[in-house]
Amino acid sequence: MSENKPKQENLPRVGFYICHCGSNIASMIDVAEVQKYASGLPGVAVSRDYKYMCSDPGQEMIAKDIREHKLERLVVAACSPNLHEETFRKAAARGGLNPFYFQMVNIREHAAWVHEDKKSATEKAKDLARAAIARVRFHQALDKKRVPVDPNVLVVGGGIAGIHAALTLANAGKKVTLIEREATIGGHMAMFDKTFPTLDCAACILTPKMSAVKAHPNITLLTYSEVNKVEGYVGNYKVTVKRKPRYVKEDLCVGCMECIDACVFKEAKFPDKFNQGLGKRKPVYIDFPQATPKVVLLDPETCIELKTGKCKKSCAAACDRKAFDFNQKEEIKELQVGAIVLATGFKAFDAKRSPQYGYGRYPGVYTALEIERLVNASGPTSGEIVLRDGKHPKAVGIIHCVGSRDAKTNKWCSRVCCMYSLKLAHLIKEHSGAEVYNFYIDMRAPGKAYEEFYDKLLGEGVHFIRGRVDEVTDWAMTPDEEGKLVLRVEDTLAGFVRRIPVDMVVLSTGLEPQADAQEVRRRFNIGCGSEGFFQERHPKLAPVNTFTDGIYIAGACQAPRDIPDTVAQAGAAAAEALALIDAGFVELEPNTSHVVEEECCGCKSCVPLCPYSAITFDEVKKKAVINEVLCKGCGVCAAACPSGSIRQNLFEDDEIFSEIQGILK
């Protein structure tokens, strides 16, 4: 255990600063005591404490001290480096000191805010300060590495978020690839009839944007495709895309849909996923009239030709543009992009997970998405509210918070269900004239003109009952409950339990992460919150960034969100991507590793360790070589090198050993 403390005189002159952070730090740590203690440590030339180190005067003080006291190292004890490391590096640079001769000490998030005993918190602050002062002695002068940024952008997810982001980026002149898993873009919004609170029709405001995407010269639209693999780093991503076969040539088909009529199946037989299974479709189909691209596709599970090869293929015969290609295979494409925007959207809560509401058991129970299709003019019933048994409902019950605000299913409030329940109440009342009951716990209408929309529904005579429905059941207690679905609920404002007989029940299911959210986030190397939504870098200050530079998130994939917020986030994500691309280069943290040739004995134990294959072996010199452009700076090789000849900048062995020694003296 070599004593690696250099002799007293040639110690570099250290400037030590401890921040009060208003009272955040000062309330739990005796900053004066730490300041006094640090001033006595070897090599410390200047030791000060100040109310707000990150403020301009605070930074100015550092720069002035560096010049006046010819400081050669800088240590600032304040908040987390994730917050202000950059700020103080810039302050050092302004003072003429290399920004990497600086070390930060986290005494706010890791001490002041989490301890309750002032004495031990101050003791901890002193230990950490001592460690940093010992460490900063070994820091080397470095400068940030600049890497060029590829100007192309990838947008994943063709819902309203992906569409808006792609259009914004394309309008800014960037080449955008928009990838969508389904056969058409439009996402959930394409399924809606009207949107709250203005009741303007979803298709009317969405279709122009969808056709703009199709027509835009800068956007390459890859539908029915998924991202398979992502490699590289900020500014230089290599993305592998898998295109599922449509068995129809996209560039030939114009969507005349004659093949659908000519199909051997005379009527539509198979459940239509887009219409939530309410409508039927043939093996050759198109999701909805305004589908973009307007191209049909074949369903391999139900098309006889694809399953058995013994069909007279009347569809192909009917197609004068000869667009059918029955042995189309899965296609793999490679993309080079500089930035990626993830807009993969949400999944609706599966109503079957709340069995007491009887979804799947009683035919009169529908999910909200099914009702969106029923009220929709292009839906299976062309907008007519009709039950599965053909009757028209006279009373409809809409249950809010299905699956949400419940520890047994999803703890969170899904933010949009109150508003879309109001919208559905309006549409149902308008289309069918039925009595409508909304069962809510808290009516959450916080947006612009949202409360006014609620007021409009109150005026229309919808019955608002505050209470969570316990059960939907078909056993009747009174004659007028016979043959009806009875909702048992406590009208908490009236103070007693009521039994409301209705013909149709609508379950306003909440929003939850996509089923494959975990795989997708691992593929893009970003984090997930505990519920499974993508993790933003900072909930308030960086909502569309992630911890991985160059990858941005927008819309409901990050948290339940309504359309206005989703579009706003899409614009923000596009702006972040533009900022990255237009800068032209990216400054990378210089924490890469390098091999000290003289000390490397050529044992090759480091070569297989690097996941980015940045380490190669020079057969001639019999030495390992690290390609600094590929190296990401994880330090795994530095730790494994038996001879210690691999050094990781900013995290050298000497630096860490001195930090350990500083803590434990």
């Binding site: 255990m1 987390s80 480096p81 994730n82 986290n106 706010r108 998030e109 890791h110 001490a111 805010w113 989490v114 301890h115 309750e116 005993d117 031990s120 918190a121 003791e123 901890k124 230990d127 950490l128 460690a131 691992r522 190397n525 984090g527 997930c528 919150g529 505990s530 993790q535 911890f547 991985t548 924490n591 360790l609 996941p611 980015y612 990401k632 700076g633 994880c634 330090g635 795994v636 530095a638 730790a639 494994a640 990781q648 995290f651 062995d653 860490i656 050993f657 930090e659 350990i660 020694q661 803590i663 434990l664």
Partner: protein, 166 residues
């Protein structure tokens, strides 16, 4: 009332997951024991077993290593290497009488601020129960013993020389 033994624990937290989780614990004002001093590394894979040994040798009573859950590593595989190295190190440490809870490896993601609190509180409690490790003290004793032994051996060899020369 004798001062209750307060263990000193050195922690190596990976920047992307556990360090961020510790920040989250701070932002959420969760309260936990003040016995841990955190050293930030870019990846748990950067932690060289020598760091752990050096920490113990310099008087740490416990060493905590925090990394991302397998599959979450920002550098794809860094934590797999950590797992391999540290399982071997644990066996070596056991051989040196450092076991049951003094060295601890935990996977803590950026969203698990609460886990940082529970792990630190639990580890502090366990190490406090184990009492001080105090390797520096043992080293001093061993050094003293060696000196005595050396003195003793030198004394005999001088006597033998004398008789031999005599």
């Amino acid at each position: 009332m004798n001062e209750q033994f307060e263990p000193k624990i050195v922690a190596f937290f990976c920047n992307w997951c556990t360090y961020t989780a510790a920040d989250l614990a701070g932002v959420s004002r969760l309260k936990y024991a003040p016995n841990v001093r955190v050293i930030r590394v870019m990846c748990s894979g950067r932690v060289d077993p020598q760091f752990v040994l050096d920490a113990f040798a310099r008087g740490a009573d416990g060493v905590l290593l925090g990394g991302c859950h397998p599959g979450d590593c920002h550098y794809a595989e860094g934590n797999y290497k950590t797992l391999r190295r540290m399982r071997m190190l644990e066996r070596m440490l056991k051989g040196m009488g450092i076991y049951d809870g003094r060295f601890r490896l935990e996977w803590i993601s950026g969203a698990e601020g609460d886990k940082v609190k529970t792990v630190i509180n639990d580890m502090t409690k366990k190490v406090r129960a184990l009492g001080p490790l105090d390797l520096p003290g043992h080293f001093r004793d061993w050094d003293k013993e060696l000196e005595e032994l050396e003195a003793h051996v030198n004394k005999d060899s001088k006597k033998a020389e004398a008789t031999h020369a005599g």
